[in-house]
């Protein structure tokens, strides 16, 4: 991330100077600061809401039941997660929320999953293979039906707004398979 940040900021300053857009540049970083606060406030609400629900799941022991149900599914992909670990439940719930297109539920569930995976990490600053796999599957964003997109197409009078459903599903599944494959190749080569 360090390299990417330096690249984006450096290129931006140079382009702003060359294009005579230095004023836009300055304005944009203050705009960005404001939208970071707005997004964080929004996150605060949904994350606190989910953490409250999650605490009930934990205190009531439901977490062990959920982990037991989803274990065969998750442990096949994530080899180093011990059985009956809370991350099994949070990972599955995050994937389910993504599949159903529930972005507001998926983000806090993903944060919870990352925290659960971090509890298995020996070096807290270094990412584990499980975390990488989890994030790569998340950024491939497998979704059954893209409701928002279909809604916009329908609003503008498309004859067949659901035409996009199958191509989208195919593209997202294939790109997920490709990304996971690339990750596994890197893992083997760069051990």
């Amino acid at each position: 991330m360090n390299g990417i940040w330096i690249f984006l900021m450096g290129v931006s300053v140079v382009f702003a100077a060359v294009n005579g857009r230095l004023e836009d540049f300055t304005k944009s970083i203050f705009d960005a600061a404001r939208s970071a606060v707005e997004v964080s406030l929004f996150l605060l609400g949904i994350v606190a809401l989910w953490m409250g629900i999650a605490k009930i799941i934990e205190d009531s022991g439901l977490i062990h039941k959920l982990s037991a149900i989803f274990r065969p599914l998750v442990c096949r992909l994530f080899k180093n997660i011990p059985p009956d670990h809370p991350s099994i439940a949070s990972i599955t719930l995050n994937f389910l929320a993504n599949l159903l297109g529930l972005g507001n539920a998926a983000t806090p569930l993903g944060i919870q999953a990352m925290q659960d995976l971090q509890s298995l990490n020996k070096d807290p600053e270094k990412i584990t293979a499980e975390m990488m796999l989890f994030i790569v599957i998340n950024t491939a964003s497998i979704q059954l039906i893209p409701f928002t997109v279909i809604g916009i197409l329908a609003d503008f009078g498309s004859r067949n707004p659901s035409w996009v459903v199958f191509p989208t599903f195919l593209a997202t599944v294939l790109s997920a398979v490709f990304a996971v494959g690339a990750l596994l190749v890197c893992r083997r080569i760069l051990k």
């Binding site: 605490k55 806090p108 807290p124 990412i127 329908a154 593209a171 790109s175 760069l190």
Partner: protein
């Protein structure tokens, strides 16, 4: 499709009802548990905030400086032989950076080229199959304070690029 829509509408209400019901059944003081858990949310979001700020500043500056337009033109010229509409290239480039910006752009494409045009359908598939990668990275890595990301970021970017090429191939094939 109706069934999936129904399922996605029912999922959260049923889940929350089930959790509370189970908690009461197990004699947990659910209200106190909920409040106790929610308290941790504040700490998590405070930890994420600096990461989010850093990535937002970089992305907005990249767009405002004209570097984004330059990258788009370059890519369009380079991909000219594949006959990919400029609108779809814009969406493909902006989706990993910003969810709301890409949705606004998509609405624009549908408005100008019509809802059943090749550009609209390709943009729709790209929008539905790509993720706001940098936001996900900032939030998920920030939440646990990971600094050494090894080969994660390149893999995510290669995955994004592959997703866009797949979207183009698939839409051309189906259209």
């Amino acid at each position: 499709m109706k069934a999936i829509r129904l399922l996605s509408q029912l999922f959260i209400p049923i889940f929350i009802f089930g959790v509370i019901f189970y908690g009461v059944f197990k004699k947990v003081r659910v209200y106190d548990s909920f409040v106790g858990g929610a308290k941790d949310g504040l700490r998590v979001v405070i930890r994420i905030f600096p990461y989010l700020l850093a990535i937002f500043v970089a992305i907005k500056a990249f767009q405002a400086s004209g570097a984004f337009d330059f990258a788009r033109e370059m890519l369009h010229a380079w991909l000219g032989s594949f006959a990919i509409p400029l609108e779809a290239i814009s969406i493909a480039l902006i989706k990993p950076l910003s969810g709301s910006a890409s949705l606004g752009l998509f609405t624009d494409v549908v408005k100008t080229t019509g809802p059943d045009s090749f550009a609209s359908r390709l943009s729709a598939v790209i929008l539905g199959s790509a993720e706001t990668t940098f936001y996900v990275l900032a939030v998920y890595l920030g939440a646990v304070g990971i600094k050494k990301t090894r080969y994660l970021v390149p893999v995510c970017l290669v995955g994004d690029a592959a997703g866009i090429f797949l979207a183009v191939l698939i839409v051309k094939w189906f259209f």
